[in-house]
């Protein structure tokens, strides 16, 4: 039986989680309306350019997730506590989900614009390599039998993988390819985006970031629950 404090804590987490989910849901619907009703139609690419409002925020939130992984991995080596490992592992899973979404939406956008689903352009190739690095992280977690070893090996990948994020971010500028250069963030030109496009993009990015925060929080809770189940099973044996 759960104690009164646990029940109170669980119901607070439930109410707060539901509240955040409702906010994210409303923002996602407003975002959809902005993308289709407010954002101007791009003159050259036409309607298909609206994929931009999903593709770029997904990729940027993926980068954000991998930055959290690096922080969690450094924290784990520094403090050696499960809290940091839990954060890093959860962020990888959510980050890979966002990055997969970015890769798939990019491929769907590439077909009508470039005439192919995929090309080994520097930006696309480095992005693919980055995605594989974090898949390897998840495989290490799944297949290394010792929990401590898995946490250590994956923390190394979490730290070593982060410089690749910066490389992917600047890949279009470093090597000439067909993928457009950076349009947002520190490396972008100030007038790279039209004012209305920029507004809708910023809203999309904020909404996706909040969705990331919600998913990360829920994934950390799942991680904690998995650990509790393991502890309880061990004490029953």
């Amino acid at each position: 039986m759960a104690s009164a404090q646990q029940v109170r804590q669980r119901s607070f987490t439930g109410v707060a989680g539901l509240g955040l989910l409702v906010i994210v849901a409303i923002l996602l619907l407003v975002d959809l309306a902005l993308i289709f009703l407010w954002a101007p139609t791009e003159l050259v690419l036409g309607e298909v350019q609206r994929i931009f409002y999903l593709h770029v925020p997904s990729a940027l939130v993926g980068f954000m997730a991998f930055a959290v992984v690096a922080v969690g991995s450094v924290g784990y080596f520094w403090k050696r506590t499960a809290k940091w490992d839990r954060l890093a592992h959860s962020a990888v899973e959510v980050g890979v989900m966002f990055f997969t979404v970015a890769l798939i939406s990019g491929a769907i956008w590439a077909k009508p614009v470039w005439g192919t689903w995929w090309t080994w352009d520097p930006q696309l190739t480095t992005t693919f390599v980055l995605w594989v690095v974090y898949l390897v992280y998840l495989m290490v977690r799944a297949y290394v039998p010792s929990k401590d070893q898995a946490a250590r090996y994956s923390a190394v990948i979490g730290i070593m993988g982060f410089p690749l994020v910066l490389l992917v971010y600047r890949a279009a500028e470093l090597w000439a390819g067909i993928h457009p250069g950076t349009v947002v963030g520190p490396g972008a030109e100030s007038d790279a985006l039209d004012k209305d496009i920029s507004l809708v993009f910023t809203f999309s990015l904020a909404t996706f970031t909040l969705l990331f925060v919600y998913l990360l929080w829920q994934r950390v809770l799942v991680h904690k629950a998995e650990e509790t189940v393991e502890e309880l099973r061990a004490s029953i044996k």
Binding site: L32, L54, S58, I104, I108, V229, I236
Partner: protein, 84 residues
């Protein structure tokens, strides 16, 4: 609570798929827009895939959390019985 969350997620997924579909249908009907809008199926496919991915993952997380909570309660009960 879990059932309500599932219904809410399903409603949102439906809205996320129907809103772009309705807007695209109205745009596709306009004269002179046929060349630039020839790629509308790609736009729809991208939105459908992205939203299905987000909601699928969201649903998976909620389901997993709910199952684990239930398992924890059962294991705690078992432990209590073992002690007594």
């Amino acid at each position: 609570m879990h059932k309500r969350t599932t219904v809410a997620l399903a409603m949102m997924l439906l809205a996320a798929i129907l809103i772009p579909q309705a807007v695209l249908a109205s745009v596709a009907g306009q004269e002179g827009e046929t060349v630039r809008n020839a790629n509308l199926p790609y736009l729809f496919a991208a939105f459908a895939v992205v939203w299905a991915g987000f909601f699928g993952y969201l649903f998976y997380i909620h389901q997993r959390n709910s199952n684990l909570r239930q398992e924890i309660d059962e294991l705690k009960e078992e432990l209590e019985q073992q002690k007594s």
